[in-house]
Amino acid sequence: MHPERTVGILIVNFSFLAAASACTGEPKNGAPSDPVPTVPIERVTASRQARVKYKSGARYANDLAGALDLPRDAVCRELGRYDCVDEVHRIVLGGVEPYTLGVREPLPSIAVTAPIAQDRVALAACTERIERDLGASAPVFLTTVDVDAPTPGELAATARRFYDRILGREATPDEVSALAQFHSTVTDEPGESGAIATRDWAILSCFMVATTLESIFY
C-alpha cells in the first residue's frame, strides 16, 4: 500500500474516532495563539503511536515538481548548476550515494542542516513557479488574482490552490485565513507593494505550504 495513502486512511479513521472522543487537538508546546483562528479547530484524536516517515529529497522533489507543474530539473539548482536534491543536498535530505561516497543507507537521524536544505529546495521551486506564473498565459497559481491590487477573495482563492496542489487536500478556513492575512504582513515591509508584494506573498505562501510537516513527512 502506498504510504501516503496509508496516512490518508488513518486520518479518515481518526476523524471517525474524533466524533466519539472528547479529546481536542490543541496547538502543542504553547505555540502562540495570535492571530486568532477565525473558526474553531476541528477535533482530532492524537495518534498513540505517532510514526511518521521522512519523505526523502528525491520523493519530495518529484512531488513538488508535480504540484508546481515544473520540470524536475527546474525545481532547484544551486548556483544555477547543481541539482539540489540529486547532488548538493542528497545525503542531508535522506538520500544515499553508494558508488562514490559509500553511503548505502540514509543517515540514521535527521541532519542539523536538513531543515535549511529543505527550505532551499522549496524556496527555489516556489520562486521559479511564481516567476513563471507572472509571465505565463496559463499560470498555475496566480490564475485569477489581480497582482497589482489583489482582493481578499482573490488571495483566499490562491491560498486554496496552494493547499490543493501541494498537499492534495482542501485548505481549512483557518489556513486560508492565515495565508491571506499574511499578505498584509508582506505589504508592511518597506518596498513591498503592488505586484512586488503579490509576487513575494505568493512565493512565501507556496513556501510555507511546501515546507509544512505534512508536506515533508508521511
Binding site: 484524536t45 547543481y82 535549511i116 532551499r120 520562486t127 512565501l204
Partner: protein
Amino acid sequence: MKNKTKRLESPGRRSFLARVAQLAAAGTSLGVGGLGVLGLGRHARAEDAEQEALARSSDPRFLIVLSTTGGASILDAMLAIRESESASAATLNCFPDSAVRTVGPFRAVDIDLPTLGAIPMPVKGRQSALVEAHQADMMVATWQRTSVNHLVGQRRAVTGNSAWYGRTLQEAVALTYGAGFALPNVHLSAGTGYNDRGSDAALPAYCYGETVADPRLWPLSLHGSQGILGAPSHGLINQARTLRNSRLDPQSRFGRVFAGSSRLETWEHLRGSPQQALEAQDLITKLMISPESADFPLAAHGLGSSPDGALVRAAFPEFARDPLEAQAALAFLLLKYRLSVTVTLGPSSSAVVNAEGAADETGGVYDTGKDGDAGEDDDDPTEGGAFPEGSIPNPPLSFDFSHSEHRSVQALMWSRVLGVADRLIGLLKSEEWGNGQSLWDRTMLYVANDFGRSKQRPMGAQQFGTGHDLNDGALIISPLANGGRLLGGIDPDTGITYGFDPLTGAPDRGRQMTEPEIYAGMAQTLGVSLDGVTLPDMRAMRRNA
C-alpha cells in the same frame, strides 16, 4: 608561516566564555538536542549539567580523526624494519636499509618505486621530512585489533570496541566540549565505520556526527535563502517561517494527529533556534572554500568565497579535484571558526584521478600508438606508456589496494595522509587560540586505521600483495600526547608489535594493548572524563601526566 605554538597555559577564557554565552543565548547547540545528563555526572538538575557542559566548552580540546581507510601498515612507516635487522628478511615485509631513516624513536621510509602495482605510474614515498617536522608531537602506541573486517575495524578504531557505552571518540569529545559549539561533531568523509554513529542513543543530539557529503557544496546548506535568485527578503522568509511553525503546522490535522512523533519534534526543533543560529553566523560565506569561478558563480548569486579561502586553497591546492584536500580545508575552517570540536576526514575507497594534471605534464591528451609515431612521445598506458607521477593520488580501495600491490600503495598513501596532516597542522599552528596559544596546542590528530596488514612477503619479493592482520600500531600526533615516544615495540623477525606498561610506557614483550586501552588513553589525553566505566589509567600516553 608564523608559528604561534605554545604549550597549554591558560586559554582566552573570558572572551570565549562571552562567545559561549552568546551562542547559548542564541540556542545554537544546546537547542539541537538538549543536554542529557548521562556521562556528565549524576546531577539532580539538568541545569547543572548544562552549566557544566558550557563551562567545559570554554576550555575545549579538539580531535581530528584522519583515517587510513582500507588498512595501513605501520611496518611501512614509523615501525619500518631494515633488512639487516631481521633474521627473516627475505620473507618479512622489510626494506632495503637505504630506504629507512631513523628519526628519533621512529622510522621513516623514503623510497622510489617504478609502478603502483599494475598501474604504470611511478611512486615516490617520502616520509622522513614529515616525521622530522612532527616527531616531537608524534606518538605511536602499538595495539592488537579485534577484527579484520573493514567496517567493523573502522568502527572499533573510534569506539575502542565499545569501551565506553559504545560512544565513539568523536561523540565523547563532543559530549565533553561541544555544548557551546554550533556543529560539534562533523564528518567530512562518509560511508565508513569511522563515520558510524555510536551505540549510545542517550547522548544529547549535538554529540552525533553531522555528515558533509561534499565540502565544497555543503556551505550552501547553512542558509535557507541566501544565494537563491529572486527569493523574497530574509526578513519576510523568517516571518513566513514563524507563521508556518506557530500556526499552520500546530493547527493542521496532520500536526495534531502526529503531535507525539519524536521525528516531528526533532524537525520542529532543528528548524527553530539551531537553524537561526547557523544562518546568523554567515557560514555560507565563511566556509565556502571555492573561489569565484565558472563552476562556482558565487557573485552572480549574491555569495562570496570565505575570507580564509585563499589560505586554505594555498595549503590544499587540489581541493577541487581531490576530496581529501577539500575535506582538510573545510576541517580547518570548522575548527578556526569554533564551530566544531571534532572533525573526521580521510581518503575514500574511490579512485582519484588527476586527469588534468596528467594532461598538463604530458602536454595534452594521451597520444595513442607506439613511441615515435607522429614524432611525439607515446604516453598511452594501453600501449606501454606511463601515467605521470601524481596523476592518481588515490588508488581504488585506498590503502586496501595493497591486496594487489602492497609496497607502492602503502608508500603512496602514507605520503598522502601524512602530507595532509602536515599541512593541516601547519594551519592550526598559525591560528591563535588566545594568550599566545595556537589551535594546534589544543588538538589531537588521530590517524585511525582499519587494522594492520599481514607481515609476510614471498621470498625476496619487492612487489607483493598483503592481507588484513589484527596486529597494528596507532599513530597519534598532538602536543597533548606523550610525543616523541614509541610506546611498545616491534619484533624485527616477525613484524609483530608488542605492548607497554600503561603507566610508565616501558616496553613489555609479554603484552599487547587492547582497543579499549588505546581508546582510554586518547580520551584521557583529551581530558574526557570516562564516567561510569572502569578503564585503566593510560598515563604513558599523556604528555602532562
